[in-house]
């Protein structure tokens, strides 16, 4: 996406928002105009920044831990047929349970601190990362695997020197999804029970009818997600370039 395209999308989005406010005549405590939200963002920058840092930290740790667990699981599945037979059905079954429904339980178990929010982010990204990377590991061309076996490669060396490098673009695809999902997990965790974070700030502002502050927190959260998606997209592109040979 070119910078000009992003700028254009931003201008169009804000214009539509402003036009809806003008035409509908909705009061500002229901739908504040973009200008009013921007003004609130500036005036409340300290409280927004403070809560942004908390959410960003939850998301970052969730991404790192969730990716690590997902990669480790995918490798285990690829290495062991027994693990594949036992774990795959469990993984699929866990996806039948909505992660959001687990938020109250996680808060009960892990408390109101950041641990339960990190756990939510981890849970929500674990499956996409595992699934994408595992698919990549399985998709190693048969000829490459045969050649490595003819050369006398052990399963471990075959994995690390052939299958994993071949699968890193798939991992990049999983990470792109994770970058979008992780903030959702963290914010849901904050909604269920927290004393800090953008999700908590949104609830707090909503409860006090400070809708402009709620929107300011929402816009900040959207910016965080977009930034994360951009950064992870760059990383995924690098992984892709590596696997294609530059």
């Amino acid at each position: 996406m070119r910078r000009l395209d992003i700028l254009m999308a931003l201008v169009v989005g804000l214009s539509v928002w402003q036009v809806i406010v003008w035409l509908s005549g909705v009061p500002h405590f229901i739908l504040p105009a973009p200008g009013r939200v921007a003004q609130t963002m500036f005036e409340s920058r300290e409280i927004i920044w403070e809560n942004l840092l908390v959410t960003a930290w939850e998301v970052a740790l969730g991404l790192v831990i969730g990716t690590g667990l997902g990669v480790a699981t995918a490798i285990q599945l690829a290495l062991s047929k027994t693990a594949e037979r036992i774990m795959l059905p469990i993984l699929v079954f866990t996806q039948a349970v909505p992660v959001f429904a687990l938020a109250p339980v996680l808060t009960l178990w892990l408390g109101y601190g950041i641990a339960s929010k990190i756990a939510m982010a981890v849970l929500i990204i674990y499956f996409p990362v595992t699934s994408a990377f595992y698919d990549g590991l399985r998709a190693t061309p048969r000829g490459m695997v045969d050649l490595a076996r003819v050369m006398g490669a052990s399963e471990t060396r075959l994995l690390w020197r052939v299958r994993v490098p071949h699968a890193v673009p798939s991992l990049g695809t999983g990470l792109r999804l994770a970058a979008v999902y992780a903030p959702i997990g963290a914010v849901i965790g904050e909604w269920v029970g927290a004393s800090k974070g953008l999700g908590y700030l949104m609830l707090l502002a909503n409860g006090r009818a400070k809708i402009d502050l709620m929107f300011a927190a929402l816009v900040t959260l959207a910016c965080l997600t977009v930034l994360l998606h951009w950064g992870v997209g760059k990383l995924a592109a690098r992984l892709d370039r590596f696997a294609r040979g530059g």
Partner: protein
Amino acid sequence: MSKPPGIGVTGSLTLGGQRLFDGLDLRVPAGEWTCLLGPSGVGKSTILRLILGLETGGVLDGEVTASDGAPLAPRCGYMAQEDLLLPWRDVRGNVALGADLRGEARGDVDALIARVGLAEHAGKTPRALSGGMRQRVALARTLREDRPVVLLDEPFSALDAGTRAEMQELAAEVLRGRTVLLVTHDPAEAIRLGHHVKVLTTEGLEDWPLPEGEPIRATDAPEVLSAQAALLKHLRKVRA
């Protein structure tokens, strides 16, 4: 490199409940090129996989043996139609792949790269190379393995005519003295390169007569052209 053994593949192979071949008795003489032709699906590549000890999806009622009685698969090198280069490794890394996979020292891979005429391209990744150059890298990788038996599965079939002829000459030169089994669909290639040519059909395996003289044979010699034409005619017949 240890002394190259001869290869024997005998027996029947059942694949998905059906006999792929029955009563096969393939003998590949030591230190020479044997070319194996036949219609698609008759089991040529499966024979290579059996010799390499790779999964075929079938059950062999027979045996794969080396003339010296020692295990065969660990002494085999392999080159396929696809170059099978790892895109993220440069030419050096690809040539040294086997050594890296076994945890051995790479050795002088640059000398091997120079031998296949790619000294100036040693630091490039496969995407920067032409199809012919990529197959040269694959050949250097096979040489790095230094195996007395080399199995070639249509390695030159995707190359243009000129590059293919060059690669045939290069392969014949650098693999001289090894036991080579080349699976090919190209009668001209078989007549040009083979000390022995065998045709595999559903009816069985037959030896095909070759012109006088040692390979690599001149492509424009009348007796070579005549043998190619006769082999092509035969292949068309067995296909029908």
